[in-house]
């Protein structure tokens, strides 16, 4: 269970800027609040802080690109459905 909690904690500090800021200010306290063990809290004090910030930025950029791509795809899908609906109506009108 603890390994899962650890991954969930990492996910939160990668994704949530406020959680990341709290973690940087007081790593042990933030990790304890997430229910991590004493050893895990201690391990997190050696975090690669520069890498954490760079990785978090990179993940945020990827999420932004994915959101844009998803909305583009759904817009295209909507247009396609609209087109096929119109075509079906047109064909029905002809028969």
């Amino acid at each position: 269970m603890s390994a899962r909690a650890f991954e969930a904690f990492l996910t939160r500090i990668y994704v949530d800027a406020a959680a990341r800021a709290r973690f940087k200010a007081n790593p042990r306290a933030e990790a304890r609040r997430a229910g991590l063990s004493y050893e895990e809290c201690a391990a997190l004090e050696d975090t690669d802080w520069v890498g954490l910030e760079m990785a978090a930025r990179s993940f945020a950029r990827k999420r932004r690109i994915k959101r844009q791509s998803d909305s583009h795809v759904s817009y295209r899908g909507l247009l396609y459905r609209l087109f096929t609906r119109c075509l079906a109506l047109f064909r029905r009108g002809q028969t």
Partner: protein
């Protein structure tokens, strides 16, 4: 004297090319819709295509039909990006089912995924993240891979990922962690050489030494790509694996090294995700990959002769 050197180099290259044929090494390209026209007009120079599986999990039937048509014309491999198999959290059945269905429809040469986790506590990270390299994630990955192999019907090749952060909470080296997962799952490695190069640069290890520490018999396929240096807040630089740039020379050198070490056929795939150059430029990089493979195979042959 110079003539003799040139003749010797030409002889080595020819021997390497011959051994490439013996090994049946292949060089292919990542399928991207933007490259479709260029790919179709150069299928004679592309041994295989790697398709992002996740793009087709929810695809309409006409897109699946198009993919099946593509796979009837050229060898296709499927590459997953969203399972998050290297995790202590069990992979969801629905994700495995989608891959199983697509593999059944397309019948790829193989399928692959990443040694990464992509979500935790119900939150999506949005990209591939390196989990803590521990016995727990190693065991979790092995269990996920065992389930994946059963449900999909074949084992995936697992790709090492690039990471800007040294994964917090790790107790094992990257090399020991990867080797452990491959051994316990009996999966082969999709060796991403730009990721090895980037991690070596970002976290201070020698990429060549890294290659020599992974069992070469596990090299199943290889990715090559390019990235860019980005400035860190501390003023130093780290290499971002963005797939938007040409393959740098050190990656071709690592490819030569991998070919010299590997006893198995290698499938090399060039990845490019945007800022697309001309098709000629991509084909030229694939040719450089073939040359690196030939050099490596020639070195491997010399090493074998010395041993005999």
């Amino acid at each position: 004297m110079a003539g003799a050197v040139v003749a010797e180099e030409a002889g080595v290259a020819a021997a390497g090319a011959e051994r490439m044929k013996t090994f049946a090494d292949k060089v292919g390209l990542g399928w991207r819709a933007d490259l479709a026209a260029g790919i179709f007009s150069h299928l004679d120079r592309i041994d295989l295509l790697e398709v992002i599986a996740d793009d087709f999990f929810e695809a309409p039937r006409r897109d699946i039909r198009a993919l099946k048509t593509l796979s009837s014309q050229v060898s296709v491999v499927l590459h997953g990006v969203g399972m998050g198999l290297a995790s202590s959290v069990p992979v969801e059945n629905k994700r495995l089912e989608k891959m199983a269905r697509l593999v059944e429809q397309v019948r790829p040469q193989f399928w692959s995924e990443h040694l990464a986790f992509v979500r935790g506590g119900g939150i999506e990270i949005g990209h591939l993240a390196a989990p803590p390299r521990t016995a727990d994630t190693m065991e979790g990955a092995a269990e996920n891979l065992s389930r994946a192999a059963i449900q999909v019907g074949s084992k995936p090749n697992m790709e090492n990922i690039a990471t800007l952060i040294d994964p917090p909470g790790s107790t094992l080296s990257e090399c020991a962690w990867i080797s452990g997962i491959l051994a316990s799952s009996d999966c082969d490695l999709l060796l991403d050489l730009h990721n090895v190069y980037a991690n070596g640069l970002n976290h201070g290890y020698d990429p060549r030494a890294f290659l020599r520490q992974i069992p070469a018999a596990r090299f199943g396929a290889i990715h090559i790509a390019g990235g860019k240096l980005i400035s860190a807040p501390d003023g130093r630089q780290r290499l971002l694996d963005d797939h938007l740039h040409d393959v740098p020379d050190p990656v071709f050198e690592l490819l030569e090294e991998a070919a010299a070490l590997s006893p198995n056929p290698l499938t090399v795939i060039l990845e490019r995700d945007g800022a697309y150059p001309s098709m000629d430029c991509l084909l030229a990089q694939m040719n450089l990959a073939r040359q690196a493979l030939a050099r490596g195979r020639a070195r491997g042959a010399v090493a074998e002769e010395v041993l005999v």
